[in-house]
Symmetry: C2
Subunit: 454 residues, 2 copies
């Protein structure tokens, strides 16, 4: 590991050991001899570690956190192209929030009546919910335990046994599972010849389901940007068609909410679902479920049950959400990242520009092509190097892993090891310097294997 990254970890961990002494001796903090000695030793070693950080020299002291859990330095040491990881990389504020609020129910210190997470004022969870609603321009919003839980909450509320929901041919598996868990069925809206879900294809599919089953689908759910190609689908047009049939429309914003501007009203969505660990610089499992005034009563339905013995009621608790959702560290980190997230969506054009720039350079390598739509409208792209790197793989003793090794040597990570035909990569959040480093690395690898570069 890069020695500065290594030593930064060592210093952070030493401070956690120090903190543990404070915890064990609260509230008086009278340290016994053993504790005092340990305290002094940690401080002394910390000073040494700072010197090592400054010099950029030293010996690694820590490799594991506990048992076999290694340190992780993908973000400190590498350019990480992992298609699902870049939008969920934490901000420094989120990392600080995790340090301060890691403990179990940490955000519940000031949970007073009516005892529900989204009503807590300190830390400002209630305010965060209002801001989130504004951010996606919807009337009501809840933080949920991941986008898939958002899908499930909507499916649970709207679908009954035997109902049909439409998803895209490139819909995420977890959406399919959420529908299946509600005892309903999912059918796919086919892509058009450009691998795009269109209002026309949607209408055709609605009509087909209607003809076949004599009933209409109960829900239509389409990703704005899909996970398979990173293509943009005509969600606004689809929402319009859905509404012509009076079918609710779910906008899957796993790859959009938090990295590009999303306006629920403009789209005409009934539900906006975002993934915070995918696109809002947050730890898993976090997500956003937003809806309109029309649907909030159904989706965020509160319980009307009453204990037949106790007479208890849990009136304020929302059935499909199972009450409070993300009541600790991941929520507070999401909140801490939010000011920067609100800012960063404004730079989306620049991100797309970097994406297109890199792709253009990638295409200079002879035999490379792009599977995703062009020009790119997103930073996540499916590329094809069957005619370049895969040719090398055919005769290389490491097979497809040669590319992974060459990239690793150059401190680039995130492309699936062994893949040389088609694979996905995401340039989100890289600086221009990093983009240029990346472009250069690919060219260098190509040249070193005598692949032509235009």
């Amino acid at each position: 590991m890069n020695i500065r990254a290594q030593k930064t970890y060592e210093a952070l961990f030493a401070l956690e050991d120090l903190r543990e002494i404070l915890r064990a001796t609260a509230p008086v903090h009278e340290l016994n001899d053993e504790q005092q000695e340990r305290f002094n030793k940690i401080l002394k070693s910390l000073r040494g570690t700072l010197d090592e950080i400054e010099k950029g020299r030293g010996e690694s002291k820590i490799r594991y956190i506990a048992d076999k859990i290694e340190l992780r330095s993908k973000e400190e040491e590498y350019i990480n192209l992992n298609p699902i990881q870049s939008g969920g990389r934490l901000t420094a504020e989120a990392r600080k929030a995790l340090i301060a609020y890691g403990d179990g129910y940490s955000v519940c210190d000031y949970c007073f009546k009516p005892f529900r997470l989204d009503h807590i004022k300190r830390p400002p969870i209630q305010e965060f919910h209002s801001e989130l609603a504004e951010f996606v321009n919807m009337e009501a919003v809840r933080v949920v335990r991941g986008a898939r839980r958002g899908f499930q909450i909507v499916a649970n509320a709207l679908l009954d046994k035997g109902d049909i929901a439409l998803i895209a041919e490139v819909g995420h598996y977890s959406l399919g599972l959420a529908i299946e868990a509600s005892r309903a069925e999912w059918r796919e809206i086919p892509l058009n010849e450009n691998r795009i879900v269109t209002p026309e294809k949607t209408q055709e599919k609605i009509e087909m389901v209607k003809k076949e089953t004599r009933k209409l689908p109960k829900l239509i759910a389409v990703p704005h940007i899909d996970y398979m190609y990173g293509n943009e689908h005509d969600v606004k047009g689809i929402a319009k068609i859905a509404h012509e049939y009076d079918i609710p429309f779910l906008y899957n914003g796993a790859y959009t909410v938090g990295i590009m501007p999303v306006d629920g009203k403009k789209i005409g969505a009934d539900f906006i679902i975002g993934s915070a660990h995918k696109s809002m610089a947050s730890p898993a499992p976090t997500g956003v479920l937003a809806t309109t005034e029309e649907f909030m009563g159904r989706i965020f339905k509160t319980t009307r049950s009453k204990g037949d013995v106790s007479g208890r009621k849990f009136g304020i608790k929302e059935v499909y959400l199972l009450g409070c959702t993300v009541m600790g560290a991941p929520l507070i980190a999401m909140m801490a990242s939010f000011p920067r997230v609100k800012e960063r969506v404004k730079n989306w054009d620049e991100e797309v520009k970097k994406s297109n720039y890199f792709i253009r350079e990638f295409l200079r390598i002879e035999g490379n092509s792009i599977v995703s739509e062009m020009p790119r409208k997103h930073t996540m792209t499916k590329v094809d190097s069957t005619g370049s790197f895969d040719k090398v793989a055919q005769t290389h003793k490491k097979k497809g892993y040669f590319l992974h090794n060459e990239l690793s040597k150059r401190k680039i990570t995130g492309i699936i090891p062994g893949a040389t035909k088609q694979y996905k990569l995401n340039t989100y959040g890289l600086s221009w310097d990093q983009i240029k480093y990346l472009e250069n690395a690919f060219r260098e690898i190509a040249e070193s294997y005598k692949i032509g570069v235009r």
Copy 2:
């Protein structure tokens, strides 16, 4: 805030700022002038902060992490009696794991075929799952997004519209919601005169439901220790009765798994559910769902759906779990705490001893009584001070808040502010020194208000 706690935070945060520079300059780490200057400044100020930690003197520089998110120091400064927080307090290892694995999908770096969280070998998530199964002595286990998601997964798999499930009169609301979300109904098994759920009461209720509805309940779910009184219920006897009627039994171990030994086989449970943020020194939202060979196929059912257009199958993904569950920071923290959690359950007798010791001392204050069963079998206890502190509250200008203020002054927190009649407190994890400090503080407060102390 205690200055050492404050300064420890400042040092931790400075290191995160340093780390951010490493991230922005990866992989080459050639700092530009501005970055180099910032780097040096952070290092310099860090050295000053270490001096301040050593001396225990200095001025607070940071109050907020971002926006209005304050630093949190409940565990560094206070004795925290919060009934739901003590078992979820992180270990130092868990805090380190959060530092290293905070980013979104951090545990997915080495996710290879068959692409499912519980199969990941690096970090050792697969091994952790095996160890967890052994820990609760069950055949199959999954980490889930909180105990309530565990309840929901079981309810979703076993219950259909109109089915009836039995819960305890002191069952948790989220269990009720999980049943309701499955379109089923919950009924309560009454407590006996000692506020205990017994096999007899369970059998009576089964018979009552049978008589009324002409069908048997489809599920019986009882907490080993309930959230309301911290009383122990006869789960083994109830499991036996349930099985006589061929009804599956769900053991709710939110207050047991991770703090006391739990043996699923000995209990005869079909499902063991634990809350990691409540009792396994983990961040929310985390939990454990364990089951037997008999039920694993139903509960962890994999999908058999197939895309009608694409022909896609998601064969390995588990329907009711919605595929991967806790794919980031909270899981890794849970894993990092686990070695200590396995050890700490062996000290349960000592924890109960401390609990009983404190309660005995608390009872020396005239007018105090205990609502929970006695002697205590758990560290979470409902106490009553209607005859002592509440009498003071009647004429105190701060009303019931006087007790909260007196405790706060003595750096004790976690009792609901304003409460002087009945309230809950949890002594889990406190050292004998802290227990004695606590006992002393209560006595001091009583004496200062002229309440008799025996």
